[in-house]
Amino acid sequence: MTQTLIFGLTGAALIALGFYGFVSHRHLLRQIVAFNLIGSGLFLLFGALARRAPDGTSDPVPQAMIITGIVVSFAATALAEAIAERLHDRTGRPSLPDLDPDDDD
């Protein structure tokens, strides 16, 4: 039970940290990295809750879902990175343009 608490709370903190990094950075790569922090924090929280069995074993169903999640988040990261790199190639900027309501184009 102690492990559920220790790793679960760490997971919660990682999600919040990643979320803050995501909104406070403008560089797209930094945002992608922060997005990965949110993901791994979620997995850790999920995995910590999977370890609540009285005999101390780890529930295999969440484990399998976490493995699936890790692979899917890699696929999302690779796609996001490719889009960011293309944007950088075309505009020379590593971040999205500022949102300006008066700007029509």
């Binding site: 608490l5 919660a12 990643g18 803050y20 990094g21 403008r26 484990q63 790199e85």
Partner: protein, 306 residues
Amino acid sequence: MTLGDAFDILLCLLILTAAAGVIGGRDLFGSVALFIVYGLLLTIAWVRLGAVDVALAEGAIGAGLTGVLLLGAAAKMDDGAGQRPSFRPGALLLCAGVAGGLGWAVVSLAQPAAGLIPLVRENLPVAGADNPVTAVLLNFRGWDTLMEAAVLLIALVGVWALSPEDSWGGRSGLTQRVRVDGVLGTFGRFLPPIGFVVGVYLVWVGTSAPGGAFQGGTVVAAVWLLAIMAGVVEPPPVASIRLRLLLMAGPAVFLATGIWGFAAGAFMAFDPAYAKPLILAVELVLALSIAATLALLVIGRPRRPQ
């Protein structure tokens, strides 16, 4: 508090410090390098949680492949300016609220619960795999894994679709300039055979011990990437029919066994008598497709005309 708890707390503090460095660090390259360290620390955390299969996946994919991908991107997109996160009090408050809410959920859920363990244990004898995680991945929740393989393929198509018209169908990645007899060239010829054996072994052993198609496939992808970076082999042109067949083979075989499941009653239902050979066959083909897909996702869109 036992010695194990003390270790866990120390490990979690290290993880949180690394994560804070990843977000707060000024240097882009340093932030990505620290992210890899963070992934390796998480791998230890998974071992502590008794989830060795997840540890293998996190170490190989979360830290390894994601790290290579982001390091490559950082080298291209680093303007050398450095970035500090901007201070946003509102967002900080919101994030503290998220952490508090999730923390409260963890504390209130921290009671003994058997979860799905009894159900998995009960059905394990007919699952065709002794490793419960593999049984869940390829039998009980095969749908998830089939969709996951499809997501990987779709992401790769998305990455390829970003190539400008003149390089469509060409080879991915940039030309490597490596001395054949140099250190990297030698390493690129020494490691792939060993890595291939390790990857196939991980798939093979996955039915009874930690391992499986994704972990084994990642190892194969890693040594293929190394061989490409060392200039030993060229990445294939994305228009290659053979490459496309290789990418499709895994999901296609998985889908075919799923349809064959109608003979046993339902889509994705495995007849217990054939479950083991079926799972092993699906895993081996799937691992090769996954290896190719992951490696191509890392090297990115086509850049050189055919």
